[in-house]
């Protein structure tokens, strides 16, 4: 066999092998979708077979039962508040830390980025007490605000490293044109930070949207404030062996992320890589 033929053969074998691995890999997710469309009896009889007919009743039952619309809205509110604050305050702090280098900004840099070393579980017990005192626990807005504190260290670190590459001449020419500091930052500099802002948004949306422990501590007591994952967790726990409803709730909880991922795969993967390399 010629060298070239041998190479093509090896490549197709590799492709087939990879394809099989990928299919097995994603099978659990497929299984979840499939079983969410079966009546209870069919799941117990055969968890792996395709549904004989799609049982949409599972969906109408679970959507009403867990108040899906409300939960989805809660997630959007919490995530939006969280992201807006993290992006705004981190980029502002990073801007000054880079442009005005003095003893104070060096101190600010240390204070803001050091908490990256503190694992959340180290502070969660006393955090609950502290948040009770300042009334940020038990509300969606309060939870969104809490994410500012946890997201800022990493986001500031990423913005700060990027800020160095934004030429200072831009600040100076804006100043000569008579722009104030605020105008310079918000009109000239911030738009140039677009790529890092995308990175920060991707990382923090994935984190906040799917976060479990902080919502569990802060907003679990009322159905009004629960997040999607939290409600799914409680619901699956209550359903115990009623797998048809449990599977449906799980599908409803993860499908928004999967749709967003399919639509924005390129940006998400790039953002995740950039965040890990810079962070």
């Amino acid at each position: 066999m010629s060298m070239k033929k041998k190479n093509t053969l090896r490549k197709s074998l590799l492709l087939i092998g990879l394809g099989i691995i990928a299919l097995i890999y994603i099978f659990p997710v497929f299984l979840m979708y499939m079983n969410s469309l079966k009546p209870f009896g069919e799941i117990v009889k055969d968890a792996i077979a395709l549904p004989s007919h799609p049982e949409w009743e599972n969906y109408s039952y679970v959507i009403n039962k867990i108040k899906y619309g409300k939960l989805f809205f809660n997630n959007v509110v919490i995530t939006t508040i969280g992201i807006a604050g993290i992006v705004l305050f981190s980029s502002m702090a990073a801007y000054m830390m880079d442009r005005r280098r003095n003893r104070y900004t060096r101190f600010a840099h240390l204070v803001i980025t050091t908490p990256m070393l503190i694992p959340f579980q180290t502070i969660m017990i006393t955090l609950l007490k502290a948040m009770n005192i300042i009334h940020l626990s038990g509300s969606k807005i309060g939870l969104g605000i809490q994410y500012w504190g946890f997201g800022i260290p990493m986001a500031t670190f990423i913005y700060y490293n990027f800020m160095k590459t934004v030429p200072r001449e831009l600040d100076e020419s804006a100043k000569i044109d008579g722009a104030s500091t605020h105008k310079t930052f918000f009109m000239v500099i911030f738009p140039l930070l677009k790529t890092v802002t995308v990175t920060v948004i991707v990382l923090d949306v994935m984190w906040i949207w799917n976060d479990f422990l902080l919502p569990l501590l802060m907003v679990n007591s009322s159905n009004e404030t629960k997040t999607l994952v939290l409600a799914a967790y409680t619901f699956v726990g209550q359903m115990n062996t009623k797998w048809h409803y449990a599977m449906t709730a799980m599908v409803l909880a993860v499908t928004p992320s999967i749709i967003i991922f399919i639509l924005l795969q390129k940006y998400i993967v790039e953002g995740v890589v950039a965040g890990a390399v810079k962070g």
Partner: protein, 293 residues
Amino acid sequence: MSKRKKKEMFDTLLYTLPAILLVTVMMYIPFVMSGYYSLTRWNGIAKEAVFIGLENFKTVLSSGGEFTGALVFTIRYTFFFVLFSNVIALFLAVCLTKKFKLANLMRGVFFIPYIMSMTIVGFIWKFIFTQGFARLSAMTGWGVWDLSWLGNPRLAFYAVTMVGVWQSLGFYIVLYIAGLQAVPKDVLEASTVDGANGRQTFFRITLPLLGPSITTCLFMSLTNGLKVFDIILALTKGGPGSSTYSVTLQIYKEAFQNNNYGLGSAESIVYFVIVLVLTQVVLKISSSREVAL
């Protein structure tokens, strides 16, 4: 101070103080409070916590205690999690950087579990270990499916580790792919011209040049392994017995279920020190072995 200087100082504070204030309230204050409460006996409800010195730390570090059990589990879990995540991800990344039509689609497939909530991932696998395996056993007759994957302490350990790796593998794959794509083509070609075969090129050229990626992945998988919580809560709730209790789960239980806030705080401080030491040591060792081109 001139008026202009004053304005500049004011702006500097205006831009940095919100961030400083927020991290202080959300992180520094609770951290200092944890330090204080770790020295007390406190049930979370009583107004006054009773100061008891280092008593809690003695309990936490006593051998055979719940915390040490959780610590042993967490370290074992983290070791296997780091090992398998990195080896498998690197292998798949090498395969996926080859040029073929479906490469992008396959990368996406491996990434999907990573964007899903870990709680849901735990539930999916709980379903598979119970319902799915029962059916596979009936179909194939193989004994593996009948083993009590979540009911036997030893098997539950492997089950939890496997699910942990499954969830986050895609993340490490994309990091390694990015690293592999940054390896200069001419260096690889030069080694082929010099007569090195595929394996030699990989181990002698590619792998050493992947240093920064390996450091990043080791560091990320280490911190993520030490943090494991959601998956275990959904999959085994720490059982059977307390064989899959992680440190984070232990801290949660001590404080919010047993109402021993003082003891829980002491556990959280010990956890902080362990995480800090382990991550810094691994970071130092790994980055000192990187080679520059």
